[in-house]
């Protein structure tokens, strides 16, 4: 084992890419370093971070060897060729299980790759494994995973956010330099906030959803989970862009995100108009979260940005609309899990010769968790004849109002900002019996999904009350993803100067637990 392994896992993806290009390391060496780190700290459902549901050392190392051969031949496939990555378990991967954190897909190995996975493989990024998540991405804490929760690397007694707690925790604990997540109401950004990492929800249609097992099709987006804004930009440019297999994907090239991130990192925010969303903050929000947010805004002002307060009055209805649209779509999406073609099959007890319907019923009863069942019931109700207009129809109208609020705000300002989440990471189990309290974690992130606009969460420091990370969210108009990178990188750079380095360096060292 190389003595530089420990160093390698601490480096950003951009640094690893440079090291590979300079011949200072090999993909096999750094892939092995990350596999070793996973083996040391990830643990299991009982102990450790538990970011991964499935680790694929053989597959990752085989990809790493192929990458090294390309490097040796002078024909790397991409700047990130050879840099390993973790993939949320909601994206299909040939030959690797894809469970969506659910028992109902226990053991299912997809026969096809999601488009984003195809692009990762084509670019030569070894896939370390699949990361834990709330079942079918329903949750804000990763506690709804049927395979046990992921723990926050900053404090293993606390939640890592959700639904993509696995991807965020893997990156935060140096088990992977890069990860892919999916964001339906905040599932990339909120885990980013509470783990001190960077997460981006691209413009709706900016990244292909083909192979993303849909939670709510009209809200879902795939996005990057990393430790720096530049790394997110690199990964976003790689996986983004039009895909004919996804009709909702935008037939336009991805804007220059890496260039925008570099521009922002130089602190260039002069003349930028920033709007602070009145409805996303203030009373009821954790004081330590608001304090760090305010400091970040002040840093932007000090760097030359112009800051105004903006009101988006419809945002207060966003959560209500979201919890009608999402269950409606997912109640239909999850109907396919019927034990007929793949996944779990449970035979009803005490029935000699069960019918197809009886097998479906028994399987769905055993295979879905309570939160999933809750949302299927809500959605089925919301779409029912006689209730459709009152629920789903009204929710769509709110959605239109929220889009109008964004449009009006972006006439005044270039970007909108808010804290990413109302609180820092809460203790495991605290909100499990109170779904509404859990749902509140996504207050600030949901509007972007309803309107399809892009958003980023970058670390804003540690809350005074608990010493846990706080996230700063930047939202931009649809298709202007470059703006969230520019502003996100500026905040990262301005605050980094203050901290004297990356916020994650202040995280406690993890004990080795094995895996």
């Amino acid at each position: 084992m190389s003595t530089t392994n420990g160093d390698l896992t601490r480096r950003t993806a951009a640094e690893l890419a440079d090291a590979l290009a300079a011949g200072e390391t090999t993909s096999v060496e750094l892939t092995q370093a990350h596999l070793d780190r996973i083996a040391a700290v990830d643990g299991s459902a009982e102990a450790g971070v538990h970011a991964f549901l499935h680790v694929d050392p053989e597959g990752a190392l085989a990809q790493a060897r192929a990458s090294d051969e390309r490097r040796a031949a002078g024909t790397p496939a991409h700047l990130l060729d050879g840099v390993p990555i973790a993939v949320k378990d909601i994206l299909t991967t040939t030959g690797l299980p894809t469970t969506c954190g659910s028992k109902i897909l226990d053991g299912w190995v997809p026969p096809y790759d999601a488009t984003v996975v195809t692009r990762l493989k084509a670019a030569g990024l070894p896939i370390l494994g699949k990361t834990n998540m709330d079942e079918f991405a329903m949750g804000s804490s990763t506690e709804h995973s049927a395979y046990g929760p992921t723990r926050n690397p900053w404090d293993l007694t606390r939640i890592p956010g959700g639904s993509g707690g696995g991807s965020a925790a893997a990156v935060a604990s140096y088990q992977a330099p890069l990860a892919l997540g999916t964001d339906t109401g905040g599932s990339i950004r909120q885990p980013g906030a509470v783990t001190g990492t960077v997460g981006v929800k691209p413009t709706y249609g900016g990244v292909s959803r083909y192979g993303l097992v849909a939670l709510a099709n009209s809200l879902d987006q795939v996005g990057p989970v990393t430790r720096t804004v530049l790394d997110s930009a690199l990964l976003h440019e790689l996986v983004g862009g039009h895909d004919p297999r996804d009709s909702t994907s935008i037939p336009q090239p991805v804007p220059g995100l890496v260039a925008a991130a570099r521009q922002g990192a130089a602190g260039d925010v002069a003349g930028l108009k920033v709007g602070v969303v009145r409805e996303l903050g203030g009373e009821g929000w954790q004081p330590g979260v608001m304090a760090r947010f305010d400091e970040a805004v002040e840093a932007l002002v000090a760097a030359g940005a112009e800051v105004v307060e903006v009101s988006c009055p419809s945002f207060v209805h966003a959560m209500a609309a979201y919890y009608l649209i999402l269950p409606a779509e997912c109640s239909s999406n999850l109907a396919k899990f019927d034990a007929m073609r793949y996944g779990l099959r449970v035979l009803p007890e005490g029935v000699a010769s069960p019918s197809a319907e009886e097998v479906m019923r028994a399987t769905r009863d055993a295979g879905f968790g309570d939160e999933v069942k809750r949302r299927i019931i809500l959605g089925t109700y919301a779409l029912s004849s006689g209730y459709y207009e009152a629920y789903y129809g009204q929710a769509q109208k709110i959605r239109t109002l929220i889009s109008r609020d964004f449009a009006a705000a972006f006439e005044q300002v270039d970007v909108l900002v808010s804290p990413t989440a109302p609180t820092t990471a809460f203790p495991l189990g605290e909100k499990l019996d109170d779904p509404l309290a859990m749902y509140r974690g996504d207050l600030a992130t949901i509007p972007a999904n309803l309107a399809g606009v892009p958003g980023i969460s970058v670390p804003a420091g540690l809350a005074d009350e608990d010493g846990l990370p706080v996230g700063f969210q930047v939202l931009a108009p649809a298709l202007a993803d470059d703006r969230v990178y520019r502003v996100g990188a500026a905040v990262e750079a301005l605050l980094g100067e203050k901290w004297g380095g990356a916020l994650l360096e202040q995280a406690p060292e993890l004990e080795e637990v094995g895996r």
């Binding site: 299909t92 096809y112 004919p244 996804d246 009709s247 019927d338 073609r341």
Partner: protein, 500 residues
């Protein structure tokens, strides 16, 4: 086979007391190369589950993408049915659980069909009925279930079921009429004529094979009765998958009789789907349709709206084939058919077949004669559609060419048709194999003539005495001797030569 326990009222008697209202829903399976939402081949007859992919199998994560060719076909069908074409429309999910539905929802169209508000003029015995088209919409087919074991071939009572997903995702256009009222006793014929004319239209458009026996074209027949003159609509039954023109007519006829029986007894017609039985011509109860059946339609979020530009719609309008009614009038004039001849031809379902036969070289009168008289009778005896009688238009034209060339006569032609139906080869091969060719060789004919004269001395004497008309009897005898295969003209000449 299921037995009927219903009290049936005589059809004509039922029509004295009730007005029927028809509704027809026709599913047309398009002949696009690929499926509605994926690139899998849409061809018929592949090994089960070989023409499938993540999308049409409904695997987690897979997404649909609309087949532009299917949209084009839908628009052309809409235009041919005089419909408005939506400037903007969406797909919707129709949610229900069934083992042959890969996603447990069908991607269909709900309140925003691609085509709407059209009509088709249907001719029955020279009278034109305007059938109003409510909508034509796009959707995907389901997989095909085969229920193994059990007596009925239906899911209940089956041992197990096999599902073939090759059919899942094949593009369908569903064409829905508004209630057709005012047809009275002609309702069965109107229903049949509508489906037949719709099939002609679909074939002319070239968008489907439109074979009812293969399920390319499937008709659901809705029928309700209301007290005569009341002007209201009664409760309807929905008879599913009626798979021939004849069955459409029979299904309507049966349902009229059944509904009348229920209503006469003071009962209420149950709103339900019914199955038609080809063997007995009756319908039996399927599942009851009630308000409890809630498909929870909502717009398909994985697809963007379909917004055909007006320019494209006009381009497609320019590709439409001739309107069938106009075409019929034009061809009637070209063929020189009387109104009665035309009506018989259409009534026999022979119009398209006659057209093809003429195109293959037969004269219009000959084509009509064979299809409307000879072959229609055979089809009727066999209880099959005329097109399924076992003889093609090209073969009919070939038979007629043999008649006109003097190789055979009309009587022998009927034996050639027997041979064609039996699959004995081409008309020429059948003539040769069955030895049907007319004999005009003087040697053979002369011998037969001499034999006839010898056997009928009285007749021969009459001819010698100048009663030339008596020659018919001798010609008849020769024909009998030659099993109908003698050249009658030459026989007459030989008879007169010998007896003058």
């Amino acid at each position: 086979m299921s037995a009927s326990t219903e009290v049936l009222v005589d059809f004509d008697e039922a029509l004295e007391r009730y007005d029927p209202a028809l509704g027809l829903e026709v599913h047309v399976e398009l002949n696009t190369a690929t499926k509605m939402f994926c690139g899998c081949p849409a061809t018929f007859g592949g090994e089960p589950n070989t023409q499938v992919c993540p999308t049409c199998l409904g695997l987690p994560g897979a997404m649909p993408a609309v087949n532009g060719k299917a949209v084009e076909a839908a628009i052309r069908i809409g235009l041919a049915l005089n419909c408005e074409i939506a400037e903007w429309c969406r797909f919707a999910r129709k949610n229900y659980f069934y083992p042959d539905m890969p996603k447990n929802f069908q991607t269909s169209q709900y309140d925003e069909p691609i085509a709407f508000d059209g009509y088709m003029d249907v001719e029955v015995d020279g009278t034109t009925f305007r059938v109003e088209i409510e909508r034509a919409h796009m959707e995907e087919d389901t997989g095909k279930s085969t229920h193994v074991g059990g007596a009925t071939g239906r899911i209940h009572g089956a041992d197990h079921s096999l599902v073939d997903y090759n059919r899942a995702g094949i593009p369908l256009i569903e064409i829905v009429t508004r209630p057709i009222v005012g047809a009275g006793a002609r309702a069965p014929e109107v229903a049949r004529a509508y489906v037949a004319q719709l099939r002609d239209l679909i074939l002319a458009l070239g968008v489907s094979e439109a074979r009812m026996d293969q399920g390319n074209l499937r008709a659901d027949v809705n029928l309700s009765l209301a007290p005569k003159g009341s002007g209201v609509l009664g409760t309807r039954s929905e008879t599913k998958n009626v798979n021939s023109f004849r069955s459409v007519e029979r299904a309507v006829r049966f349902e009229v009789a059944r509904h009348a029986g229920v209503l006469d007894a003071g009962g209420k017609v149950v709103q339900e789907t019914r199955h038609f039985h080809e063997d007995t011509g009756i319908t039996t109860s399927g599942r009851e349709k009630s308000d409890a059946e809630d498909y929870r339609y909502f717009p398909e979020p994985d697809l963007v709206p379909v917004a055909p530009s007006r320019e494209w719609v006009e381009e497609l309008r320019a590709t439409l084939p001739e309107n069938p009614t106009a075409k019929r009038a034009r061809l009637q004039a070209e063929w020189g058919y009387s109104d009665l001849e035309m009506r018989d031809t259409v009534g026999a379902g022979a119009f398209g077949l006659v057209e093809e036969t003429i195109a293959a070289g037969a004269s219009p009168q000959a084509a009509r004669k064979w299809w409307v008289a000879e072959l229609a009778r055979r089809a009727n005896d066999a209880g099959v559609e005329l097109a399924a009688v076992g003889v093609t238009p090209v073969q009919v034209a070939a038979v007629q060419a043999l008649v006109e060339g003097g190789t055979i006569n009309d009587k022998l032609a009927r034996q050639v048709f027997d041979g064609l139906v039996a699959g004995e080869g081409t008309p020429e091969e059948i003539v040769a194999a069955r030895g049907l060719a007319i004999v005009s060789d003087d040697g053979a004919l002369g011998a037969a003539v001499d034999k006839a004269i010898e056997a009928n001395p009285d007749v021969a004497q009459k001819i010698r005495d100048g009663k030339v008309a008596a020659a018919g009897a001798l010609i008849g005898a020769v024909m009998k001797e030659m099993r109908g295969q003698a050249d009658a003209g030459r026989v007459r000449e030989l008879v007169l030569e010998r007896l003058s």
